[in-house]
């Protein structure tokens, strides 16, 4: 028989020192460690590079202000990112989820950007969690994620990028490889 010690599945306590300041009320946290890890991994290559997933984000947005939530620090200076004020006044939003986040936290965290015209949601699928098993969720994780995002952004056009069976080789913990590019149907 196995035995279990300690409190199981307590709400994750992310060290305060690794949380970065978010100026807005959207509840997607940021991760200074991921930002630093992003820089460290890029430094492994001697020439100027961009990760493929980052380039897709850079290509998606135009020069208009972008409401940013989550671990978006890398894109400050590369995109016109704003983290203050009312999100509903923006036409573009970028949400990067790279901190342990429950399914409900993800849902509520994206509420504030769900009506914005152009949204990119990038999720490190390794750091999500659910407190209990959900029989109704599709077995294929990549498809289940897409279905979940569709419930938050119904009746929208969603372009879905992911690396099948992503392991440690694609810089996913520096910049999530699962991405949803959300626009209105007629865009």
């Amino acid at each position: 028989m196995y035995r279990l010690t300690g409190e199981m599945m307590a709400k994750p306590k992310f060290p305060k020192s690794l949380e970065e300041e978010n100026q807005n009320s959207c509840r997607i946290r940021s991760n200074a460690f991921a930002t630093a890890w992003h820089s460290t991994q890029k430094s492994f290559v001697p020439e100027e590079i961009e990760f493929a997933q980052d380039q897709r984000i850079l290509d998606f947005f135009d020069d208009q202000p972008i409401y940013g939530i989550g671990t978006i620090q890398y894109f400050r200076g590369k995109l016109n990112i704003i983290t203050e004020d009312d999100p509903q006044s923006y036409k573009q939003a970028l949400a990067i989820i790279n901190v342990p986040t429950s399914d409900l936290e993800l849902y509520h965290g994206l509420e504030c950007v769900k009506n914005i015209d152009k949204v990119c949601v990038a999720v490190n699928k390794y750091i999500l969690w659910t407190p209990s098993n959900k029989d109704s969720v599709t077995e294929d994780y990549d498809i289940a994620l897409l279905e979940y995002i569709k419930t938050i952004f119904p009746n929208r056009h969603i372009e879905h990028f992911y690396v099948k069976d992503v392991k440690g080789n694609h810089f996913n913990f520096a910049s999530p490889t699962t991405q949803f590019f959300i626009t209105n149907e007629n865009n």
Binding site: I49, Q55, W129, T130, V137, E139, Y141, L145
Partner: protein, 173 residues
Amino acid sequence: MKIIESYNDFELTVDSKKKLYNESHYREHDHIAKRLPAGKSVWIDSNGDATNPNIVAFENEKWKGIFDPHMPIKFYRYFNSPTLVQAINKYVKPTSVVIYQSEEFKYLTPEELQYKIEFMVDSYPTKIFIYIDMLGIDFNKLKYSYTHIIQSVVTQNTIIHNLNDFKYLLEIN
């Protein structure tokens, strides 16, 4: 501007390998050290302290260039190799085997994780400690809870220590 998709797109230098190894192998393992029985302890791909006479460190040979060649570190090619198992049991005769922050236990599916745990149990007739960061385990995290997965992969005679932040220490035998 070059677009990079994966580590296959470039060669890591020795310095980069050192950074990579050190980022993923912290030496903060009091929760294991305090539980070790007397005798030799084998640490596999776990940044074992080779200066400690009671610790025998085995590292994956892909990291060979990053360690001080004067340190008594042993290297292996295949984790599942019967030769490695035999060498450890016959020549080190450890009282414990430790897996801590090991790449061998990252990015595994629950089935792969279960297989590796069973392999450890079948291979080493010692106390076994396996540290698992569930954030690094590959399964449908919208459908299954971490509690469910960790309980489904452990073998008999296992104590699951919950270290918080989704990290667990399995103490076997």
